[in-house]
């Protein structure tokens, strides 16, 4: 179980923040679910208000970075009279372990949810040695 948990680890934002931003505004850490199955991981990130073209996913060394720029626009000619949440960009990064096939990562974005499919490499099959007892 520990091994599973270590497959994807969150990096603290300090490491990511060494890259400075050129956009102003707030940055949020999207909430994430990760589903682990035999041959792949699926990552779901809540990133409402983006568009497919405003989301960048980069893989450098072992770090998978998600960056989503907000496209939502406040209604014109309205005044904000009650405020519980703020709007901003999204950013989060994960380290991938060796088992992920880096060439085959897929992404799609639907109803504000980014879904990443991270296939696992074929594991080295354990060798079976038949022992015959005479």
């Amino acid at each position: 179980m520990e091994a599973l948990k270590n497959k994807i680890q969150k990096r603290d934002s300090e490491a990511v923040d060494t890259v400075e931003r050129t956009r102003s505004g707030k940055v949020f850490v999207p909430a994430v679910d990760i589903l682990d199955s035999d041959d792949h991981l699926t990552l779901y990130a809540d990133m409402p208000g983006c568009e497919k073209t405003s989301i960048d996913i980069t893989l450098e060394n072992n770090v998978l970075s998600i960056q989503g720029n907000i496209c939502w626009q406040p209604p014109k000619d309205y005044e904000l009279v009650f405020n519980e949440y703020e709007v901003g960009d999204y950013r989060r990064a994960f380290t991938l372990d060796e088992s992920i096939d880096r060439e085959k990562i897929e992404a799609d974005y639907n109803n504000g949810v980014l879904r990443l499919t991270l296939p696992k490499l074929e594991p080295a099959k354990p060798k079976k040695i038949a022992v015959k007892f005479s």
Binding site: L4, K5, K7, I8, K10, D12, S13, E14, D17, K26, V27, F28, V29, A31, V32, D33, I34, L35, D36, S37, D38, L41, Y44, D46, M47, P48, G49, C50, E51, C71, W72, P74, P75, D77, Y78, E79, L80, V81, F82, N83, E84, Y85, E86, V87, G88, R91, Y109, N111, G112, V113
Partner: protein
């Protein structure tokens, strides 16, 4: 406060919230978490209409239900949790699921028959026209 919220179906909500706060402390203050109120809403207004916006990713428009009495709006919805088979494990689970009900006081009474809702990229937008009889009337003073 006029705001009431309830969360059902997720006993881990409180745990997640605590963990989020801890993460937030350790991550410093450059990056922000979503507010603990779920769902958080913003209300916009001009003299004729109010607009309620809420970031509710992963739903369909049909998953929401809104009812209005005068100036009170009750919004309900439900997002299903991810289904896992016995071959899958939910390794990280931060996203909110389950039912919610939220009651909000609007800036004025609205016409329940003229409410319109849209849902785009995970953002719910409900337009609420002000009741005719509540609109300010202009009284012209006749000059004799």
């Amino acid at each position: 406060m006029d705001i009431r919220y309830m969360l059902g179906g997720n006993p881990f909500e409180e745990m997640n919230r605590l963990r989020n706060e801890m993460d937030h402390l350790f991550n410093g203050f450059n990056t922000l978490r979503r507010p603990a109120v779920y769902p958080a809403v913003n209300i916009w207004s001009n003299k004729d209409k109010a607009i309620l916006t809420a970031e509710l990713p992963g739903y369909d428009l049909k998953d929401f239900n809104a009812s209005v009495i005068d100036d009170t709006l009750v919004l309900t919805g439900e997002r299903e949790s991810l289904k896992t088979s016995d071959k899958e494990a939910l390794q990280r689970n931060e996203r909110m699921t389950g039912k919610f009900e939220k009651q909000v006081r609007l800036p004025f009474p609205v016409d329940a028959n003229k409410i319109e809702a849209t849902y785009n990229d995970g953002v719910l937008n409900i337009t609420l026209p002000r009741k005719e009889e509540d609109k300010p009337r202009k009284i012209t003073i006749k000059a004799n």
